[in-house]
């Protein structure tokens, strides 16, 4: 029933309860204070005044009684008159006091006694006047009798009424005082205690309810917040109250649901991102090892989140990047191939050029040396040309002697040819003999075989002859061994004959070649004779030419000097060229290496 009351109202209820309790306590205290005040007023303004008035009245009456009794002692009239006046004054005062006393008479007892007091007073005044009258008459005896009789009776009666009234007022005052004392000493503390106890119970109950109605949902909320903080987003608070905590619980549940939805969405997004990132990483891994044929599978689903869009754009950009990289690598590969080819050609050309330059340098060096040698040679030639000219003349004579010797040589060669032909014929005869020896050896071989068989049969016969045939058996075995040796010897002879036949054939061919060689030699000697004759003529011309050469070689020497200078310049230029070529070769080699490296670097990409 309190769940639908909001917290402000609950606090207001607590405050109002406090205020009501305070008001009740104040009213109660005020009422009790008024009662005490009334009691005090009743005592002070009623009973105490009445007692004082009654006491004053009794004193005045006692004084009047004394004054009246003074009449019995008056001796003169003047004194009586004075006493009469005094009595009259006193009577007036007493009457005034009695009249005033009537104002404080409240209850019936007081009114009754007051009436009796006034009656007794009137009767006392009357009896006193009578006494006075008797005294004036000098009737003292009657006066005394009356005084002691009626007057005294009326006076005592009046005093008695006054005493009763005083006593009544004292009793009333005591009663009121006692009531007040009861009120202050017992009723008020008990009442206050009860009221405070009731108020305490009420306040504690309300406060307990209030605290419980606040702490319980707070505890639920605390548990819920702790669960959510611990990651349990499915926790919900079951609080359907209409107060602030109900609203807070609903808000908490909504927050939990929102958080759960958010986390589920985030988890989905994270899984999607992880999936895509894994795909991209695999793709990037393949690209990193050079596989440029790989493309990212772009996600075309309807996930239109910003992350999906970004990842899609990233994948598209990666594809574009790899596409560009692939094109670039293709172009680099083409260019590299071109560069590689060109650099190889350049390298080959420079290598060749270098080799040529080196060769050229060597050649030039050799040429310089040669030129120097030629110069020396020319100098020597110049010196020897003269000697040649002289020698040529001697050569003419020698050539003539040579011509004669050639004719003799031709004759000798003819004789050699005839001898060689004779040797060839002899060797052919020898070859035929060798063949005959082979036939004889075959016959000997056959004889050896038959001897072996005969020896065997002789052995058999010897064995059959028994003890007597033993010696023959040994001979037969010896014969058999000899036959075996004969076979071996004939085999060796056959081998030697084969070698002889081969040598003979070779000798026949050599003699044939010798015969041909002798013929050729004869022809050559004849040609040599012709040559010698021509040589003699040439030598004569050479002698003349040598003389001319001697003259021209002097000119050649100066020409060779110029040539040497020119070739030295060429050598310097060649050396520079060789250096440049080597530099170019190194550059071409570097370029070729670079092209190879680039080709290798590009070749790792699969396009």
């Amino acid at each position: 029933m309190f769940k639908n009351i909001n917290v402000g109202t609950r606090l207001a209820v607590l405050v109002v309860t406090f205020v009501v309790i305070l008001l009740v306590l104040g009213a109660f205290t005020l009422i009790q204070t008024n009662a005490i005040s009334k009691a005090i007023d009743s005592i002070t303004s009623d009973h105490i005044v009445a007692i004082l008035d009654l006491t004053t009245l009794q004193a005045s009456m006692l004084e009047l009684d004394g004054t009246g009794k003074s009449h019995f002692l008056a001796i003169s009239d003047a004194e009586i008159t004075q006493l009469d006046q005094k009595v009259q004054t006193q009577r007036a005062d007493i009457q005034t006091q009695i009249t005033n006393l009537g104002a404080v008479m409240s209850d019936t007892f007081e009114v009754s006694n007051y009436s009796n007091l006034k009656v007794s007073w009137q009767k006392f005044v009357t009896a006193q006047d009578q006494v006075f009258a008797l005294l004036r008459q000098k009737n003292t005896a009657d006066a005394q009798t009356l005084t002691k009789g009626d007057l005294a009776s009326q006076f005592n009666s009046a005093l008695q009424f006054a005493d009763d009234l005083t006593k009544h007022n004292q009793d009333q005052s005591d009663l009121v005082n006692k009531d007040a004392a009861d009120l202050t000493g017992r009723t008020i503390p008990i009442s206050l205690a009860i009221i405070i106890a009731v108020a305490l119970v009420l306040v504690i109950s309300i406060a307990w309810w209030l605290i419980r109605s606040i702490t319980q949902p707070m505890q639920q909320l605390l548990v819920g917040v702790t669960k959510i903080a611990g990651g349990d987003l499915t926790y919900r608070i079951n609080n359907t109250s209409k107060d602030e905590f109900g609203a807070l619980s609903q808000a908490f549940n909504k927050m939990g649901q929102n958080l759960q939805d958010l986390v589920e969405t985030e988890q989905g997004t994270r899984a999607y991102i992880e999936n895509m990132v894994t795909s991209y990483m695999r793709f990037v891994g393949k690209v990193s090892v050079g596989d440029l044929t790989e493309r990212v599978q772009l996600d075309n689903n309807n996930n239109s989140s910003a992350t999906s869009h970004d990842l899609h754009e990233l994948g598209a950009n990666l594809n574009g990047m790899v596409e560009g990289l692939s094109d670039l690598a293709k172009r680099i590969r083409e260019v590299t191939l071109g560069v590689s080819s060109s650099s190889a050609e350049i390298l080959a050309a420079t290598t060749q050029q270098n080799a040529s330059a080196t060769e050229q340098d060597t050649t030039v060096t050799q040429t310089i040396t040669t030129v120097e040698e030629v110069r020396q040679t020319v100098r020597q030639t110049a010196e020897r040309a003269q000697a040649v000219a002289d020698a040529s003349r001697q050569s003419v004579q020698v050539s003539r002697a040579g011509e004669k010797a050639v004719i003799e040589t031709i004759e000798g060669m003819k004789a050699i040819r005839e001898r060689v032909e004779s040797i060839a014929e002899t060797i052919l005869v020898l070859s035929g003999r060798t063949q005959q020896i082979g036939d004889i050896i075959a016959a000997v071989n056959e004889i050896a075989d038959q001897s072996k068989l005969l020896a065997l049969n002789a052995g058999i016969e010897a064995a059959r002859a028994g003890e007597e045939g033993k010696g023959f058996a040994v001979v037969a075995m010896e014969v058999r061994q000899l036959a075996e040796q004969s076979r071996q010897a004939t085999a060796r002879v056959r081998g030697i004959l084969n070698e002889i036949q081969q040598a003979t054939n070779k000798a026949v061919m050599v003699t044939e070649e010798g015969s041909k060689g002798a013929e050729t030699g004869m022809q050559l000697v004849e040609r040599a004779g012709d040559s010698i004759r021509e040589l003699a003529a040439t030598i004569e011309e050479a002698a003349q030419a040598a003389t001319q050469i001697a003259a021209s070689t002097h000119q050649q020497i100066s020409g060779m000097d110029q040539l040497s200078t020119a070739i030295t310049s060429i050598k310097q230029a060649t050396a520079q060229t060789a250096a440049s070529t080597k530099q170019a070769e190194r550059s071409a080699k570097d370029l070729n290496d670079l092209a190879s490296q680039m080709e290798k670097a590009v070749s790792r990409y699969r396009l």
């Binding site: 075989d449 065997l456 049969n457 052995g459 058999i460 064995a463 059959r464 075995m477 010896e478």
Partner: protein, 178 residues
């Protein structure tokens, strides 16, 4: 021309001394019983035929086949005017034969009254073996008919028992000798 004419006097002296040395009996003091055998080869194995049963050895013998005879009978041959029946000794002994076409193999004529000759793969020579050296322990020999064997020498030559072989031939096949 005599046989020894091509030797010089020195060579002849050497031959004579060698012949004298070989001709000396080895065991004069203790003549022991021995058997002289003709060593022949059948396939790769060496067999010895007792010399007292052999008449002669011939080569280049023309053998004429005879129909309707057992496989071991190669045919008949005319040897020095004698018509003899030529048997393949390997087949007679029950050994597998390995014969090539037109192979000129030696033929051993026996002294038997049956006019028989054995053809073998080759004739190795004559050898005398002490009978005491013959054993009957021949675990590695291909010949399984132990009755045909006289014994085995210490160097593995199987000495055949010609009488047992001839008795077996007569007992098993009269057509050969008929």
């Amino acid at each position: 021309m005599r046989v020894f004419d091509h030797f010089s006097a020195e060579e002849l002296a050497i031959l004579r001394s060698r012949a004298a040395r070989i001709a000396v009996p080895l065991h004069i003091a203790e003549p022991e019983e021995s058997v002289t055998i003709l060593l022949v080869k059948i396939n790769a194995e060496q067999y010895g035929l007792p010399m007292d049963g052999i008449s002669a050895v011939y080569e280049d013998v023309q053998i004429t086949p005879v129909p309707n005879v057992p496989e071991a009978a190669l045919g008949i041959a005319n040897i020095r005017g004698r018509i003899v029946f030529v048997l393949d000794l390997g087949s007679v002994l029950g050994l597998p034969t390995r014969r090539q076409e037109n192979e000129n193999l030696p033929v051993i004529v026996l002294t038997s009254a049956l006019e028989l000759a054995f053809q073998v793969n080759s004739v190795e020579g004559i050898e005398t073996i002490p009978k005491a050296a013959l054993t009957n322990n021949f675990p590695h020999l291909a010949l399984t008919r132990k009755a045909f064997l006289e014994g085995i020498s210490s160097d593995g030559k199987a000495v055949l028992n010609l009488n047992a072989i001839l008795d077996n031939l007569v007992a098993n096949n009269h057509s050969i000798t008929a």
